[in-house]
């Protein structure tokens, strides 16, 4: 039964069929079980007629079934009746009518009535049958048939004059009050057709009025009133007589009814307006009643529960929850341990290089080489395409450059990446040019900071290592998916080529300025050396300030995605196609071992958020990752953006949700000291929020520019403002929101004596600022 219940609520139409057989088998069990199963079947059959139709005969009634079972079986038969099987069912019913169980016979008649009203073909036959039944001797059967006929006649009165007449003649014989009442009502309603008979009936009734049941008295009054309206001349005295009788009745209702009708009909002067419409009131056409099933409101409660059986809410009854509109968190279904937060170790560095000048270094690696960290290999055995170069060589190189870093990163950062530094992409000149312009702007403004950039260069080393250390703390044992779909061979959509950078490479850039020279060589090979140097410096400063803390988030895990895994991250670079959009990189990974995934395409955005989709990916071979970019206009809100994708010719779109942290809504906006102060002065008052974090003395002493910058970059994409005052306790950062381009200014003041960190944010977007402040505060608290 529980299974049936499950099938009923969850299974698709096509599969519910199986339930029928098992339920029918249960019918063979004890009487009590039969009763409850039948009740459930009534309920199911109501919704899904077709599943029980083949088993119609199983519901035929045995004479020794218990009365409840009989009733339910009848109910089921009635429900299942349709034009094709009605003849057999009716034949069955005819036998039931003859059954010695009179109640059951009455129910059968009722059921016949229902069949007749639902299936128009047999209405005639049913009526004839019922009329025949009326000539039976048994009281209850006759009464029930009269009641049912009355209801049927109401549906289509015009055709059945004969039947009405026949019924009217029976009024003397019938003694069951409800049947008598029905007959009287019929006479009243259709008195125009039997104008000769009607007054005569009223005369007879008036005689026996005193002895009748209340319900019959009411109908007599009705009849009298209706006849009076139609045929006042003949019946005037009779009606008066009946009303007088009713006036002294013991029943309140009868007296009231009589008074009402009298006022309406006879004492017209008292309420003239109503009396004018008396005919309309009394002889209004009435809608035909719908013959209802005897078991009503059974869909209030969950099938098969106690509440369902007794038809009232039992203690502890819980409704079935509605189908969730949002798919539940897919991670619930993860059986294997999937790294929830792919670490940032390498990817952070990678993406750090994507910002600013270094983004020029967009690479296109030549082969299908995928780059994995060692951990990745261990965890995901399917992806066994590893680069040919062993981890040792890299580490050696790293060692040459950075000893301390090596110590911290060796375990987790065994990046056996292999990149060809010199293989520059040639298809990306456009965005580069844009950036160059920016750069040149920066150059002018950044001339003053050239001095500091020297300092920062030194700091770089430390911040790098600090960051990696931090990373380790945050995500132990998790290694990132460095796996970059650097292959363009498979990627059809490569609007923004993978901007990954190896750690090694970035270090090279940062320390040797090699990258800048190489870019310059590529982009502007004619630029002179001075420019090169400038660029070099520039690149250094921006690289250092662009240390980005990029996390990867899962938006489709490979189990729900049937092997397709989708992660996203915020590379913190401007989105090329629209400056108001946030650039989000989607990493599609085919985690299956042997299945290719075809035609992944962007279907539509579900929320109201404007999303620039990616081009269709025709083929994603197994074990390969592809990075595509989409732009999302979050409109400076942290509401998640959701959209649907289609893949593998699935008709049902898979929905993805991208959650944006407040820090990602902000892009770097470089301001010098002076500009910063100007804007700060403008954004006072309402636009300023402050908070402070308590830290202990040891930790506050550790806070310097680098540590603070790292923390800020962890939560928001902001750039530091070069300080001229030389105050070592004051740090300032600036940024602007991506959609509305409103400034966000962050000031951090260290209070060494009280061991406090004061945070101040000035921004137009105060809601955003509040959230940002909270996040920064948390970062300070958690990491310190």
């Amino acid at each position: 039964m529980a299974v049936a219940q499950l099938y009923y609520y969850v299974a698709p139409q096509s599969e519910i069929q199986i339930v029928a057989k098992s339920l029918l088998r249960l019918l063979r069990h004890h009487r009590e079980i039969q009763t409850i199963i039948l009740k459930s079947i009534v309920f199911i059959a109501d919704k899904h007629k077709q599943i029980f139709e083949p088993y119609l005969k199983s519901f035929y009634v045995h004479s020794n079934d218990s009365s409840l079972v009989k009733r339910y079986k009848l109910e089921i038969l009635t429900t299942l009746a349709n034009a094709s099987n009605i003849s057999t069912i009716l034949r069955e019913f005819q036998t039931y009518v003859l059954s010695s169980d009179k109640d059951f016979a009455a129910h059968t008649i009722h059921a016949i009535g229902r069949c007749a009203s639902t299936i128009s073909d047999v209405t005639e036959a049913c009526l004839n049958g019922l009329v025949a039944l009326m000539s039976k001797k048994d009281e209850t059967i006759v009464a029930e048939s009269v009641v049912v006929i009355k209801k049927l006649l109401q549906i289509n009165p015009s055709q059945y004059n004969e039947i009405i007449k026949h019924i009217v003649r029976m009024v003397d014989k019938v003694t069951v009050p409800i049947a008598r009442a029905s007959i009287l009502w019929l006479i009243g309603e259709y008195s125009d057709r039997i104008s000769k008979l009607a007054p005569d009936v009223l005369r007879k009734m008036a005689k026996s009025f005193v002895d009748e049941e209340t319900i019959v008295k009411h109908q007599i009054l009705n009849l009298a009133a209706k006849l009076y309206v139609v045929n006042a001349k003949q019946t005037h005295l009779l009606v008066q007589y009946v009303f007088n009788l009713a006036k002294y009745d013991t029943n309140y209702d009868t007296r009231d009814k009589a008074r009402l009708l009298r006022a309406l009909l006879i004492q017209t002067d008292k309420c003239p307006t109503l009396s004018k419409h008396a005919k309309k009131i009394l002889l209004a056409s009435k809608p035909a009643p719908i013959l209802e099933s005897i078991i009503r409101d059974h869909d209030l409660y969950t099938l098969g529960t106690l509440s369902f059986v007794i038809g009232q809410k039992a203690v502890g009854y819980k409704d079935l929850p509605d189908f969730p509109l949002e798919p539940p968190d897919p991670s619930v279904r993860n059986v294997e341990i999937v790294t929830p937060l792919p670490s940032q170790n390498v990817s952070s560095r990678k993406s750090s290089t994507t910002t600013g000048i270094t983004s020029r270094e967009k690479k296109k690696s030549v082969n299908d080489e995928n780059f994995y960290s060692d951990k990745e290999e261990e965890e995901e055995e399917e992806e066994e395409e590893t680069s040919t170069e062993g981890p040792d060589t890299d580490n050696e190189e790293e060692e040459d450059e950075e000893d301390e870093k090596e110590k911290t990163t060796q375990n987790d950062n065994d990046t056996n990446e292999y990149e060809q530094l010199d293989a520059q992409s040639t298809n990306n000149i456009e965005p580069e040019e844009e950036e160059e312009e920016e750069e040149e702007k920066d150059e002018s403004s950044g001339s003053s900071e050239e001095e500091e950039s020297e300092e920062e260069e030194d700091d770089d080393e430390e911040s790098e290592s600090d960051e990696s250390a931090d990373d380790e703390k945050l995500t132990p044992n998790q290694s990132s998916i460095v796996a970059k779909p650097s292959s363009t061979l498979t990627v059809s959509d490569y609007t923004i080529p993978a901007t990954e950078k190896s750690l090694l490479e970035m270090d090279l850039e940062a320390f040797l300025g090699a990258s800048s020279t190489s870019t310059n060589v590529q982009v502007a090979p004619v630029k002179n050396n001075i420019f090169d140097d400038l660029h070099g410096l520039e690149s250094l400063t921006s690289t250092s300030s662009n240390l980005v803390y990029t996390k990867q988030y899962d938006c489709l895990n490979r189990i729900t995605g049937q092997g397709l895994q989708i992660q996203y991250r915020f590379p913190r670079t401007p989105f090329q196609q629209s400056p108001n959009m946030i650039h989000v990189e989607l990493i599609f990974t085919n985690t299956t071992t042997n299945k290719d995934i075809h035609s992944i395409k962007f279907y539509k955005s579900k929320s109201n958020i404007n999303i620039q989709g990616f081009n269709q990916i025709d083929l994603l071979p197994s074990g390969v990752s592809i990075v595509t970019s989409i732009g999302i206009d979050f409109n400076d809100k942290t509401q998640p953006a959701s959209f649907d994708i289609l893949y593998d010719n699935n008709l049902i779109p898979t929905s993805l949700t991208i959650l944006c942290h407040v820090g990602e809504l902000i892009e770097q906006k470089f301001l010098n000291d002076q500009q910063f102060n100007q804007n700060l002065a403008r954004l006072r008052g309402m636009n300023e929020i402050m908070d402070s974090v308590n830290v202990d003395e040891v930790q506050i002493s550790k806070l310097n520019f680098n540590t603070i910058q790292t923390k800020i970059l962890q939560c928001a994409n902001m750039i530091s403002v070069p300080s001229t005052s030389g105050d070592s306790t004051l740090f300032r950062f600036s940024g602007q929101t991506i959609s509305s381009k409103s400034l966000v200014l962050l000031t951090i003041q260290l209070n060494m004596t009280q061991s406090k960190v004061h945070l101040t944010i000035n921004s137009d977007q105060i809601v955003l600022a509040t959230m940002l402040l909270k996040e920064i505060k948390q970062t300070f608290q958690s990491i310190l």
Binding site: K21, R25, H30, E32, T35, K57, V309, A314, V315
Partner: protein, 423 residues
């Protein structure tokens, strides 16, 4: 969660009560009595009765009512099934489940109830395990109990520890036997003219397995496709059935029902019996009653235990009938006519020798003549024939070395009141 259980006899006396949680007053049964009073027939009592604070779920069997008291929402089928299970269990322990047997074995009844239900939730319902926990009553134990005054069972059941929960490890029989009873029941309604309105076959395979060790049995059918809808004992390997239509299982020890099945309704069934009837009421308090029963397509097997039951209309005062075979009785209070024919041999095919019953019906004077003729309920049994034609091809045993005795028996029968002839 079942709160309490009352066992009520026909007279409306709750002679046994058992509470798993707090004590529920016996007065709760009043609601049940009320519902009982409303119904003429004890079978018409609604199985679920809602009272202001409790819900009563009752079953009626063997003239006893088992009334379970609930307070919370719970699937009623679950409770009903459980109550029937208790009754089955009592029958298993005491041979019958009547007021007397329960009263005689109060101690064991309470022990059992404690064991199968723990704080209102079913715990152990497997009869085999229970029988180890609580030994069924027998004379020897009774004597021992009287002598020593100690009836505690010191050994823990070993079956619970087996990784095949339905079979113990250490079974040993001197005679290794395996019996399979294939029992089929016919459901049918035949109308006045002898046409079959409805017919169904429901079958069971009941086993009595007395085999040592851990045997692995395989049962092959000649025509497994006949089986339409099957429910298996948990021991049957489902996959084997689905792929090869072979029943493969490690049997429990003792008696159990291996499968119950249903034969597709689409197949027409050859009825093994026919009844010619002639029942007529005549004006003036009398009527004629004539029945002739004959076998039909029984494949040479004889019909045994043929009984015809007929519930006469209320206006019948008495029946004076003379059967040519067997004997007939008429209960004038319940108005039930029972004609116990016994065995009908197939050889007596010529109609002269067919069992017939003839006689007059006396009606109550003044009462109107009954409109409809009574319905005949027929029950019979045919040994060595499964009416659906299903046959076991072979039974194989793996896993043990000895050669067991294997026996298959076919029985076709009719469940009470499921074979009806309308007259």
């Amino acid at each position: 969660m079942i709160h309490s259980l009352f066992i009520i006899n026909e007279a409306g006396d709750a002679f046994m009560e058992k509470h798993w949680k707090t004590v529920v007053s016996k007065s709760i049964c009043d609601y049940f009595y009320e519902a009982q009073k409303k119904c003429v027939n004890p079978e018409d009592i609604p199985p679920v009765i809602a009272t202001p604070h409790h819900y009563l779920i009752n079953i009626y069997r063997n003239n006893l009512y088992f009334v379970a008291v609930l307070t919370n929402e719970i699937a009623p089928l679950f409770v009903i099934e459980f109550l029937h299970r208790i009754m089955d269990l009592f029958e298993n322990y005491f041979g019958e489940c009547t007021e007397k047997s329960v009263k005689d074995n109060y101690v064991i009844v309470y022990e059992l109830l404690d064991e199968i239900l723990d704080s209102g939730l079913p715990l152990i319902t497997e009869t085999n395990i229970l029988k180890e926990l609580i030994k069924p009553p027998n004379l020897l134990r009774k004597v021992a109990h009287f002598v020593t005054g100690d009836s505690t069972n010191t050994t823990l059941p070993s079956k619970q520890l087996s990784n095949i929960p339905w079979r113990p490890f250490d079974v040993f029989y001197r005679n290794n036997e395996a019996f399979f009873d294939i029992i089929e029941e016919i459901d049918a309604i035949i109308d006045q003219n002898g046409t079959i309105v409805m017919s169904e076959i429901q079958g069971y395979i009941d086993c009595c397995i007395k085999l040592s060790g851990m045997p692995d049995l395989t049962l092959n059918f000649v025509n497994p496709r006949l089986l339409d809808d099957i429910s298996f004992h948990p021991c049957v390997r489902l996959r084997k059935w689905e792929s090869e239509h072979v029943l493969s299982f490690i049997p429990p020890d003792g008696n159990f029902r291996l499968i119950s099945y249903h034969i597709a309704t689409q197949n027409t069934i050859c009825m093994p019996i026919y009844v010619k009837h002639h029942i007529q009421y005549r004006e003036g308090s009398s009527g004629r009653f004539e029945l002739t029963v004959g076998p039909k397509q029984t494949m040479g097997k004889s019909l045994e235990n043929v009984i015809i039951e007929c519930t006469m209309p209320k206006s019948v005062l008495n029946c004076i009938l003379t059967p040519s075979q067997g004997k007939s009785t008429f209960d004038p209070i319940k108005k039930i006519l029972i004609w116990n024919i016994g065995t009908i041999e197939t050889k007596t095919q010529n109609s002269a020798h067919l069992p017939t019953i003839r006689g007059n019906i006396i009606l109550v004077t003044g009462q109107p003549i009954p409109e409809s003729n009574p319905i005949l309920n027929i029950s019979f049994q045919i040994n060595q024939l499964a009416i659906s034609g299903i046959r076991v091809q072979r039974v194989d045993m793996n896993g043990e070395i000895y050669k067991p005795y294997k026996g298959v028996k076919y029985i076709t029968t009719v469940k009470k009141g499921r074979f009806q002839i309308r007259t």
